[in-house]
Amino acid sequence: MANNTSHTTEYRVLARVLLVLMFLTLLTISVTSYNLAAFGVTVALLIAGTKGFLVLTYFMHLKYESLLLRILVALIFVLYAVIILITFIDYAYR
């Protein structure tokens, strides 16, 4: 039986991740308050992507999960990227 072999993440690690996440939230607000048009979206998505990565890695413990699970999660995001790409190619050349 493979029971509760989960890694224990220390409180201070979680607290530090929260501080970084809060900093990134303030950063995304200040960056997008300047009207940077297309650049603004790119920066906002990059910051959101970084925050999502931190949540998945530390809060959701993916850093300490099996390789199988990490590959599965990565594949979902690859799948989603492909769906977006195909949809936008369709819209662009319609």
Partner: protein, 205 residues
């Protein structure tokens, strides 16, 4: 960690339970992914309308809710750490803080939606069909996506209340905590979706 007593454990497979939760999370990601796809296509088509629409939202309330959800995500992760360290009481405190944060998020949401409703802006209102197509799409997506997200907050709260009761009764303990782990995973998913919803709904340049 104290030693495990394998011979008195009933048959169970924690890794499989967790894998099952992750598979469910994948379907949730693709559900919201589909909505984000609709959003990006229409935002690309009506960039000016989407920008004007986002100006109607309060960045302050959105930012407060983001911070509230981020904190709640940390406290639920800490609840898991506490139970792994065999600290039942601390785990219950952390789950309670998470639930309080969730309630605060919903309170803000009601306040925010209420202000829109007062201006006659809600799905099915008389005003909505009179809007420009871009505005109509923006607000329809806003209400649908934040509404679906709020529904997930409520479901997450129910799951965490069940976890809280089971931690209290000792059914979730330091050798058997996969239920809390899965409840926490669901809560992190809710946070993860909001991380993308916030800049895409509130911060359109």
């Amino acid at each position: 960690m104290s030693e495990k007593i394998p011979h008195i454990e009933a048959h169970r497979d924690d890794d499989a339970q967790k894998l099952g939760m992750w598979l469910f999370i994948f379907t949730e990601l693709l559900l919201f992914g589909g909505l984000f796809l609709v959003y990006s296509v229409f935002r690309a088509k009506y960039p000016a309308n989407f920008h004007e629409g986002s100006l109607e939202l309060s960045v302050t309330i959105g930012a407060i809710n983001t911070i509230v959800l981020l904190i709640s995500s940390m406290t639920v992760a800490m609840a898991l750490t506490a139970i792994q360290k065999n600290n039942q009481k601390l785990a219950m405190i952390f789950i309670s803080i998470t639930l309080f944060m969730a309630a605060a998020f919903l309170f803000n949401k009601v306040f925010e939606w209420g202000a829109k409703f007062e201006h006659g802006l809600y799905p099915g209102s008389k005003l909505m069909p009179l809007l420009d197509r871009g505005h109509l799409l923006y607000f329809s997506l806003y209400f649908f996506m934040t509404g679906l997200h709020a529904l997930h907050i409520i479901v997450g709260m129910v799951l965490l209340i069940i976890c809280l009761i089971r931690v209290k009764s000792g059914k979730i303990h330091f050798q058997k905590y996969t239920q809390l782990e899965n409840g926490a995973l669901y809560w992190h998913l809710v946070d993860l979706i909001w991380i993308f919803l916030f800049p895409l709904m509130y911060l359109i340049t």
